[in-house]
């Protein structure tokens, strides 16, 4: 009869999901692949879910358009959460100004396709990703030598600097923003117009799949292992010969690039951006999405991003009160499930299996 119980049911649901994952891992390759394929297909059909009886009633967003919520909010938040998860979850760098990179991506597309040139979206998008990446390197080079919490306020400042600069510079469209941004080119039956949001969703979801694939490769590579080492103990990693600065900068740049990618998708969908689209509060929401889902776990970031974007639209009926409920929910989840809804699994190396440390310490969630 309480939120905490429903909360617990959510977390137990998450637990059963992870247990399902473990069960699947034991299955043969073909079973795993077909299960994955079915899931992906079902998610591609997400815009039609509201028409399915029970499921539809759960996911629908009364009061606003469901496919548009998917493209404008859910896809963007999931992408951003994936990118921020690289910075916060994998490398352990606290970034409170991630909205800055998102804005850089969106503004690059806007400037190149509408404000100062007429390049097609398909050309602007990679440029936007590169520019955001560059912004990440430019910001990271002087600041990544700072200790963790100093980094938080510096990145927060960076996000604000980007927004205020866009607001005050005529060249960037100032407070009026930029309209008529180019849309992605239509491919066959996929028409990227104004009224149908579904093609944008297919594009966005495909992008998410590609990003997840690339990130998985990265996580299991030397870079991923270095991030792991830096996050757990930076000094020890340094002593072991990891070039911590280089790998932190890599995390920052990759995170920034994904943020810019999300920004370019957003600009291509809504075709109008202004500085009010990139407030400081959005950075905080992004971070909340990552930590709520489970920092360090890619699937956690996906779930967290989707939930943070979708919940306020699902509970539109609460109107004014939904932000309050969101705040309370954040505190409760952190108090009762501090590792997030889907916590990061500590990789069980084979030699660790035989050597069991005392369970239930700082990082080990017993359940």
């Amino acid at each position: 009869m309480s939120l905490s119980e429903s909360l617990r049911s959510v977390t137990s649901g998450a637990r059963s999901v992870s247990r399902l994952g473990e069960a699947l891992a034991k299955q043969s390759r073909s079973v795993r692949w077909s299960f994955g394929a079915i899931c992906i297909l079902a998610l591609y059909l997400l815009p039609w879910w509201p028409n399915v009886p029970v499921l539809g009633w759960i996911v629908e967003t009364p009061g606003t358009s469901f496919p548009s919520v998917l493209t404008d909010q859910v896809v963007i938040f999931v992408l951003v959460a994936l990118g921020l998860n690289v910075v916060v979850g994998l490398a352990g760098l606290l970034d409170l100004g991630y909205v800055g990179f998102y804005a850089v991506g969106a503004y690059t597309v806007a400037i190149l396709s509408s404000q100062h040139a007429n390049l097609p979206w398909l050309l602007c998008m990679p440029i936007a990703v590169l520019v955001s990446m560059l912004a990440g390197v430019i910001l990271g080079t002087p600041t990544l030598r700072l200790r963790g919490d100093y980094l938080a306020i510096v990145t927060l400042g960076f996000g604000e600097i980007i927004r205020i600069t866009a607001n005050n510079m005529h060249w960037l469209g100032d407070s009026r923003g930029i309209s008529n941004i180019a849309t992605p080119p239509s491919i066959g039956p996929l028409k990227f117009g104004v009224l149908d949001a579904k093609p944008y969703y297919f594009l966005g979801f495909t992008t998410i799949l590609i990003v997840i694939f690339l990130l998985r490769r990265l996580e299991n590579s030397r870079v991923g292992r270095s991030w792991n080492a830096i996050r757990e103990d930076e000094d020890a990693a340094e002593l072991m010969g990891v070039d911590t600065f280089k790998f932190k900068l890599w995390a920052f740049a990759i995170g920034a690039a994904i943020g810019g990618l999300a920004g370019s998708l957003y600009a291509g969908k809504v075709q109008f951006i202004n500085p009010n689209n990139f407030p400081l509060q959005l950075s905080i929401l992004f971070l909340a999405a990552v930590v709520l889902g489970g920092a360090g776990n890619m699937w956690g970031a996906v779930v967290g991003g989707a939930l943070v974007a979708w919940m306020p639209e699902r509970f539109r009926g609460f109107a004014d009160k939904r932000v309050f409920v969101f705040g309370v929910a954040l505190v409760l989840v952190m108090v009762f499930r501090p590792q997030g809804l889907i916590p990061r699994k500590i990789r069980k190396e084979r030699w660790l299996e035989s050597w069991k440390p005392s369970s239930g310490t700082a990082l080990g969630s017993k359940e």
């Binding site: 309480s2 049911s9 009026r176 109008f272």
Partner: protein, 396 residues
Amino acid sequence: MKKSTLLRVSAIAVSLAFVTAACGSDSDSSVTEDTVASEVTEDTAAAAVDGVTCEGVSIAFFGALSGDAGNLGKNIRAGADLAVSEFNTANPGCQVGLVDFDSQGDPAQAPALAQKAIDDAGILGIVGPAFSGESKAANPLFDAAGLAIITPSATNADLNDNNWKVFHRALAGDDKQGPAIATYIQKTLAAAKVGVIDDASEYGKGLADIVKTTLGDAVVASDSIDPKAADFSAAVSKMKEAAPDAIFYGGYYAEAGKLAKQLRDAGVTATLVFGDGVKDNGFIEAAGPAADGSIITCTCADGASNAEFAAAYTAKFPGETPQTYGAEAYDAAKAFLAAIAAGKTDRAGVLEFLGTYDAAGVTKQIKWDETGEVAGNAVYAYKVEAGAIAVIGLIE
């Protein structure tokens, strides 16, 4: 671990109940127009003789009802609400619904809401979007869907540069207001030296820039403030040093109140002049005695001075008087209702009807040119006297 299965099942059941209840409560709030619509069918047979008949049609309000700008949106919605309920009383056979789209003034939420409005085939016209930013985000969608919009409050000058064929405005834009403000400052106030401050927002800076260009060399000092900050001492020091005869501030009422107070505290005696964003009692509350003698201009008419409208408003909302843009919203809704009364039941018909619409509204003669601008460019001047905003007449 064994008992947890049972626990989990019950917990899921509980959480489902929680969600059910949540949905129950949110459908309650948006159901008003549906109940109206279903009553219609019963009434149609009984009272079809009286007035026009129609079924399942509605108009929509698009703007902020919650969030920081919620109050402004509520004033606008009230005007539209009054027009709709008057219409429904007069035409029992045609009950028009009023659907709300609460954008919170946030351009990021606007496209999805606009899409929802478009998907609802019963909606024939939009009163709104209330602000310029959300207009730019939502209007392309309305334009593509051919759904007519009449904004009662978005005055940004460049809104009609976009060739939106569905765009209409129930009041003159800032390109009319800005020069009028400049004229007022130079002619009526006879100010030789003018200071201009803005809040770096789309509306405030846009208006302040027009005033600045029109005044030219008369502007001796200008600055921007951050509306979210509490302290404006840099701008205040600048004005104090430049000692202008009049100071124009482009921005909204809450900051205008703080600014007026800080200017007076610092000993600045110049006449304060504001645009339509300041025409709200919140300004007087925020500024206190510092508001006295301030000039506020608005392309909006004073709803309260139209006795008939004010009486109807107070009858519908006991204890309240028409607020800023309420009368414009009333006129906007009236135009849509006239289209419905004329038997237009599809969007194209309504849009076409608006092109030829020409009727006396509460605020002015309502007639649109091909760009959607309302005919006539009346700009009114108001003055704060003894803690109230009183109209002092048309400018020019």
